[in-house]
């Protein structure tokens, strides 16, 4: 028979389990947050992201992409804001690329490969030579989105979207100097400036089905941004590093998708068909276009 453990021993053992805490660092971080809060209150109330966080997650579920960005941000301060994002599926539901986006013919490397794979799948499905469909139970078992065509639309949209999105600080204004500097950089194919007002307008369009979310915003919490298309998308991380430390820049987001892996995955999901496309589920209506998240504050990385 073992010796019984006393309450004090139990208490000591539990205390030892709890990891130590750097009280000074905690106090400093809290001090900074309190000070920031004070400033913010003097400027007027700002967006309460946690109140709408659940809505954002729900919409992401509905649409599918931009999840990495959300995951990178969920742990941060209430500075999380909603922005329109190139990873979101198109709002038209037809699967045809936005005519104002960059032509698909300019895609290179793995992006071009994925684009070709998407088109091959679409054409195969149309002619009935390929089957690109799954049942709800297969979707659950194989971790697939519920709607195959929505997945193709989303992939296309993200291929045509910018290679880098640069979020600007409010203090940067129109960032004209930075814009002309980036435009002149070698390898930059196109640059678009999205002002705070345009960003809010896009958000309103994205949330057309949920106007109460937008109307609950006291001001415009969205940052202006620069969307950059490159002639060679593999240069995106290098350019992102270059831009990150600029005073006008709040955050730089390079793409997080592995295009080659997606092309491979698409190939593995299609099967030879018998000329009968009856099984294919085609969706012409989306629950809602999605938004992804950005952040206004330079808070540290938390939840991984």
């Amino acid at each position: 028979m073992n010796r019984p453990v006393s309450d004090t021993e139990l208490s000591d053992a539990i205390r030892r389990l709890a990891p130590p805490v750097d009280g000074g660092a905690f106090h400093r971080e809290l001090g900074e947050r309190c000070a920031a809060k004070r400033r913010r209150y003097q400027r007027g109330p700002r967006i309460r992201a946690w109140a709408i966080g659940a809505a954002v997650v729900a919409l992401l579920v509905a649409g599918g992409f931009g999840v990495n960005a959300l995951m990178e941000r969920v742990g941060q301060d209430e500075g999380m804001v909603l922005t329109d994002d190139s990873m979101s599926p198109g709002a038209t539901g037809t699967g045809s690329p936005d005519p104002t986006s960059r032509e698909a013919t300019t895609l290179t490397g793995a992006k071009a490969e994925l684009w070709a794979e998407i088109q091959r799948t679409r054409e195969g499905v149309k002619s009935g030579e390929l089957i690109f469909a799954w049942t709800a139970s297969e979707a659950a078992r194989e971790d697939l989105p519920s709607d195959p065509m929505l997945m193709l639309d989303s992939l296309e949209k993200s291929l045509l979207g910018p290679d880098i999105t640069v979020y600007l600080r409010d203090s940067a204004g129109d960032a004209t100097a930075l814009r002309s500097e980036i435009s002149a950089m070698p390898g930059v194919a196109r640059l678009e400036f999205v002002s705070k007002d345009e960003a809010l307008q896009k958000l309103k369009e994205s949330f057309a089905d949920h106007p109460e979310i937008i109307s609950s915003l006291p001001g415009n919490p969205l940052p202006a941004s620069l969307e950059v298309w490159l002639t060679d998308y593999t240069q995106a991380p290098a350019l992102a590093d270059q831009l990150r430390d600029r005073p006008e820049v709040d955050e730089v987001r390079p793409p997080t998708m592995d295009y080659g892996q997606w092309a491979e995955r698409l190939r593995s999901l299609t099967r030879e068909g018998s000329g009968d496309s009856g099984r294919v589920i085609v969706s012409n209506s989306y629950p809602s276009p999605t938004v992804a998240s950005g952040v206004t504050g330079g808070a540290t990385q938390h939840l991984g």
Partner: protein, 167 residues
């Protein structure tokens, strides 16, 4: 570098933070099994308290209030993390290797503690680590004293047998 100078009718917010922060973060770490999440939730709870510090006298028990807010925030974070993780996995087809359940340590006692039902773990942590009476634990958890006693009893049983097996 202490910027918290909320000296008011209710004393210094600064000293309140000094007194309670480390214990709150450590308690939340044990309950959530995730020290980073615990840190964030504690920050949020203190920030919320800071914003209403001039009316803190209206609170029956500011410490219980702080712990309750922090525990709720822990659950909020946790839900979002888990939901986001499932989404990422499903959409990107990467169902393994990205995320593992956080754990405390590899000792026998830590494993037993981690495996306790969350409410038992919460009650045991608040009582043994945060030094709260059964009454206070009940107030934080929003349950009756009898329920706290039951949680504590079961947690004690499990932890004792784990410790006795080791000794």
């Amino acid at each position: 570098m202490l910027i918290l100078i909320a000296e008011g009718p209710n004393g210094s917010f600064d000293s309140f933070v000094q007194e309670h922060s480390a214990r709150l973060v450590r308690s939340l770490s044990l309950i959530s099994k995730d020290p980073e999440l615990a840190w964030d939730a504690a920050q949020d709870a203190f920030l919320k308290l800071y914003l209403r510090w001039d009316t803190v006298g209206d609170l029956r028990d500011p410490v219980a209030w702080l712990y309750r807010v922090a525990l709720n925030r822990c659950s909020d974070y946790r839900r979002i993390v888990v939901r986001g993780r499932r989404l990422t996995e499903r959409l990107q087809g990467m169902s393994t290797g990205l995320w593992t359940e956080p754990r405390l340590a590899d000792t026998e006692l830590a494993l037993t503690f981690s495996a306790l039902p969350r409410r038992q773990r919460t009650a045991a942590t608040l009582h043994y680590l945060a030094d709260m009476s059964t009454e206070e634990v009940a107030q934080v958890m929003g349950v009756s004293r009898g329920t706290v006693d039951r949680h504590l009893f079961r947690a004690r049983e499990a932890l004792r047998s784990s410790m006795e097996a080791q000794s």
